[in-house]
Each structure stands twice: as C-alpha cells, then as structure tokens.
Symmetry: C2
Subunit: 428 residues, 2 copies
Amino acid sequence: MKPSVIRQAEILCVGTELLIGDIVNTNAAYIARRLATLGIGVYRQSVVGDNPARLAEDLRAALDRVDLVITSGGLGPTYDDLTKETAAAVFGREMFLHEESLARIEAYFAATGRVMTDNNRKQAMMPQGAVVFPNDYGTAPALALVREDGKTLVMLPGPPRELEPLFREQVEPFLHPRCDAVLFSRNIHIAGMGESAVENALPRDLLESANPTLAPYCAEGEVRLRVTAKAPDEREAAALCDSMIERIRQTPVAPYIYGIDTPSAEAALVELLKARGLTVATAESCTGGLIAKRLTDISGCSAAVAGGAVTYQTREKTAILGVDPALIKAHSVVSPQVAEAMAKGALARFDTDLAIATTGFAGPGGGTERDPVGTVYIAVATKKEVHCRRLSLSPWRDRAYIRTVAATNAILDAWRLLNDVHLPKERP
Amino acid sequence: MKPSVIRQAEILCVGTELLIGDIVNTNAAYIARRLATLGIGVYRQSVVGDNPARLAEDLRAALDRVDLVITSGGLGPTYDDLTKETAAAVFGREMFLHEESLARIEAYFAATGRVMTDNNRKQAMMPQGAVVFPNDYGTAPALALVREDGKTLVMLPGPPRELEPLFREQVEPFLHPRCDAVLFSRNIHIAGMGESAVENALPRDLLESANPTLAPYCAEGEVRLRVTAKAPDEREAAALCDSMIERIRQTPVAPYIYGIDTPSAEAALVELLKARGLTVATAESCTGGLIAKRLTDISGCSAAVAGGAVTYQTREKTAILGVDPALIKAHSVVSPQVAEAMAKGALARFDTDLAIATTGFAGPGGGTERDPVGTVYIAVATKKEVHCRRLSLSPWRDRAYIRTVAATNAILDAWRLLNDVHLPKERP
C-alpha cells in the first residue's frame, strides 16, 4: 500500500517548563518553518505539561484532525518523560528494548566520560513498529509511528540543539516521499529603501504573482522580500524563485539589494571586504561595541576586521581616536562633525581601508532639543571620502532597539559606500 | 455577586505568522510567567491561524475547561484581525464604537505624525460590556469580557512591546482581586561555583522546603537559585523569600552571590563600579566587542564605562594596547601573558581603575594543540594587581556560545576581583 500524502500537521510540544513559561518555545516555530518547505501546512500548535492523560487526549484529537502530528519533549530518562509510553498506548503498541539504541546510548556516555545511570535505559525503550531515528546530538533517539490509515506521529527530543539537526537530517527525508510538493524560499535583502518605496518600485504582476509568491517584510533597519515557489521538487522550485529574482534585478530596486539569502548585514559587509581584500575598523560611542561584536560574530572575519575603539566617554574620543577637543566643544559630542572625526581617527589609528563611527543618544537618559534620544550620527570613511548622516529614531523606542537599528544602518552604510550606492540623508 | 476565583488559565495565540513559524512565540512564555506570579496555573497553550471558525471553536472549548482564557493577536486594523469579532459572537455580544478608544487612536496618529486610515477605526470597535484597557504603546486597546458564570476572556494585542506592559500595568491589577494566592520569586545569582557545588553547600531542609521552594538553574557561565513563595499577598510572599535568602547568606555559598534579582552580570558590575566611583575599560580579542556592548547595554553606564579596544588582529594589540611584539612572538597571541599585557595596556591607555581582557579561540576555525577552540584567556587588572585564568569550553560548542560564556566569565571575574572573592583557576 502506498502511504498516503501528508498535507496538514499539528505540532504538540510537551513539557511543564514550556507551559509555565520558564523557556520560550522555539521548537514550534522551527518545525513549522521546516514543514512549510515540505508543502505541509500547520493547522495548530499546542503546549501541554507532563501529564499523560491530557497528552493522550490531545494526541487522539490531533490524529483525527490532521495527517501528521509532531511532538517535542518527554523522551528523556526521568519518570515524567512519558511521550513514548503515551503514544504506545494511543497506538495500541507494546514497548520493547531497542538494542541498537541502547548500544548507542552506552557509547555516548562512554565517549563523554559520564556514568550511565539505569534510568537511561528507558530512552532505548520503543513502541513496537516504531521507525527509530538515531540521535547523534544527545541520548534520546527520535521515532515515528505510522497508523494503518497512514496517520503519522513523529516524536522528537525537546532540546533545540538535538531536535533541529534530527529533524533536518532524518525526519525530512522520512517525510519527503509522502509530500506532493515542496515550497522553497529565497530572501532578497534590501537596504536604503523603505518598504513602501520598494513596493512602489515593483511591477504589480510580480507583487500579485501566485507562484512564486512575493512578500515584503520590514525588519530592523532593512526591508526583506521573500520569494516562495511551490513545485514537485526543490530544484524546480529554486528555478522558479531565481527567475523572479532576475526580474526584480531589472527594477529600480536592484542597486539597493545587498544580498540574496544573506544571514545579516554584517555577513554581507564582511564577505564584500574579504572579496576585495579590504579591512575595516570601528569607532563606537552610543553603540558601545555592538558593531564590532556583530562584525566579529562572523567566523573567518579576522582577515577583514582589524579591530575597533569603544570611546564611550568623551575624553576617550580624543585619547584613542585623536578627535580635537575644540571640535567637540564647538559642535558637542553628538554631532556630524564628531562622527566624521571619529571615523577618520579610526581609519588612521587602525590603518584600515574603511572605518565606521557612531555617536548619538540611545537613551533612556540624555538627548538635547536639537538631538533628542533616538538621534544617531553615522559616519563611514575611506581614505578618499567620508560620509555622514543623521538617523532619527523614535525616542519612544528602547535603548536596545535604537542601538540595534543604528548598528545595522551603520554596517549597511559601509556596504553602500563600497558599492557606490546612493547613501541616504536620513533614515532609509 | 462576588466574581469567582481564578485558578487555571489557557493561553491562545492568534496569528498565521506564528503558526507558520515566521516568528517565535514569546508571548505565551511571558503570559505564563506572569500568571504564575498570580498563582494561576496554565493548563494549555495553543497557536491558531487567522481563521474565525477555528478560533471560535477553540475559545468555546477553552472557556469550558478553565476559568480564564488569554489571547494575543488579531486586534489590529486589517480584515484578517478577527479576535474581538469572534469573541463577541462566542459571548453573544454586539459590537459598538468605543469613543474613548477612537479619540486615543486619533491622538496617537497625530502625535507620531502619521495619517490615520479608515480601517484604524476598527480598533476602537468593542463588544458590549467589554472592560477596555487603553494602550499607551500602540493603537489597539486590550480588553476583557466576563461571562455570567465568571469565566473570563482577556484579549491582548500581539506585538510583545505592547502586550508586555499592558499585561503588567492593567491586566494584572484587573485579575488580582480574583486570585486567592500570589506566587513571588527572587533569584539569587551565583558566580564561581558550579551547580553541584552549590547544591552540596546548601542544607537539605532548604533544598526540600515546600514554601518557599528553592530551585537551582544552570545558565551560561553562572548558577541561579530561584526562591519562590506562595502567600495571600505579595508582601507576605516577599517576606518568606527574604527569610530564606537570609539563611542562604549563612552558608558557604554567600561569598559567591553576586546579586539578588540582578538582571545580568554586566548590570551587577556596572552598579558596583558606580557605587565605588570606579571606571572600567575593555581589551577584547576573541569576544570582539561583546563585553563592551554588554557593559554599555546598561543605561546610565557612562560614569563607569570609559571605553574599550577591540584588537582583533594581532598587530592592533601592539598598535592600540602597546603589547610587546616579542611577548606575542614568545608566547603566541592566545596566551595568559598576552591577556595580562592587554589588560595592563587598556588600564594605561584608557586610564581606568579596572580593565578586562580576553584572547582565545572562539572557532569554528583556529585553535592549537595546547589551546583548542573553546580556550579563552581572561585577564582582569587593577592598578595593584592583574589576574589571569584559562577558560576551557568544549570545542563542540558554537562560536556564539563560546563568546557569550567567555564574556560572562570575564565580567564576573572583574566583579570578583573588586569584591576580593576567590577567583577560579579554570572554569567555575
């Protein structure tokens, strides 16, 4: 019998620590996103505590409603980990000791030098007929049960660093033959153009296209266009996405695209610097190290990122970056003149090709009438030129938001300067 | 009629963007944590899409099961925001235009200089008999409906920066008279002692106490003890917590406590520096600005945080911090000698009372046989002394984890140096 097609799923996360809010449920979002790529819609997500009676009730109801139920949590060694046992009861299956899993768990403990306690054997107990997915990232294997009518239950361990690779590497290949289409997305990252300007610059037939679809998102300091195609396989869906991206590259949006599927602004900048053999330094006041931190988040950045100065107090701007105290006195420390001088100072001090500087009021205290909280001057400098602009964010935004958006804008200004893309005067 | 006591709740988050995993559901965890402080248990959390039929069905089922249902999302101005309309149908109430809300929405648009479109009026429509909670953080007010039998539905807007203050400031006082006990927690933050060492140092009767309860948690680079008391009101519960904290202060754990309800290691350090009128500078290699970023996350830090140097490339350690190239050549750039020289260099360069330095391998590339990925040398220096230690994290941990734990340990080492608390030789 050919197994039935899977079109709809529910996600059921088990764990009192989720239910009481001790941890945020990132698993549901992760699983939902991955199911979307398989063309499987999510009908509902739920969280229940470690209570077998309620869990059994929920499993039965969910299996009535949809083709596929995915659980996370409750596969561990302790007495309150009861997902497998409850599922076995719901499916009318006996439990047995899965020798292969036991051997793997024993090997895992031996390799990590820890002592295996008796209750870890529980993790090798499986319902009859289970498809077992060995866990290379922890001790509890994942598993699936398929009912005679094709309804399927997949059970995953709760820790995201185990669940995510197990899902990608083993559950997706298991589900794939039963999916009748896949969804595939690419993200176009845009800086220097607002969301409505992007929409206005795109032809209507692209915005209203049914396959691929095109959806604009507004993120902190940038706009993202998501292109999503549905096709029988990933190769075909990717080709559909790519042809739409080609069309977008013929529109006025093109020069503002700083990356396709780029994980972040900093990744785009570091990649560009490495490709051109250039180096960068930072000179940060209100962002206080955030730009340097984000540039060095990128592994392998050391060829491009020389370093930076956090000159939080005024006198350090002079001591470290050589900003003239008279300039600070004349224009105040939060001013375009000081931002430019900081960028030039970092360029000289670190002897780099590019420098990025910020000075502003991140709040909640501080600010002046001319420059209230939310004002950040961003300067980017090369040996040939220096460019500065004023970013004006709402003073109602919190400190973390103001610092994050200022850092993103500063990093993208550097990217634009290197690409000769028109730099904005105010907030893009 | 005195309204009935509220003991159990369900949380129902509405929104297709949650269901498909486009955003992680932080609201459910937030609401659950806050309900716990009111002594209200959470029975279930669910996420449903913008589908009024399913939402109505779920609202009815949840109101059958528990005393209180809290929704988030679906209160906005667009056609697919249907939570209020669906709830009105479930409660058999008509909708009316709530003039006060309309006036507030108009004022909000006027203040932010945006144009109010017609569909924003929808946000001022309310079911008859609704308790309206005005929204100072956005345009959609929150509201509550109470059924004749006391069953209560609270509806909140979806964005966390609106939902969280609305819940704290308005929903909690609304629910409070109907709670028969409150839970109150305090967190004791401990650095320099492992979780099992903390447990061993505490008397058994404290660990097994029923009210308050005491629960240890292991976080990245620290141990947290959560003390939770249940009492008729918050004052009494707080007193129960405080008397347990007093007892813990009599145990060998005491010198390792760096804060009670301290939001972070950096907050504890900045507070201590400000209290003593001291200043700090950072000298970061592998943490690349993360320590400076975290210290400047704290608003009002400018009195204590002078600045810092990110010396990511080797030559910057010499150029900016004055580290002797011969020292680097003799010991390599990742070594205790270089970490100490960096700390001393920052102390001199920034003319501060304290300096914090890091050099190590955050991976995934790099590392040597002696110092594999996960090795970080942390140095803290005052004008009188310099202290360095080696932190050895698992090379299997990712770059972000290694950088985060190294930064936390470095910040806490500075705190300990100032408090004359024994500094660890390796990882605490």
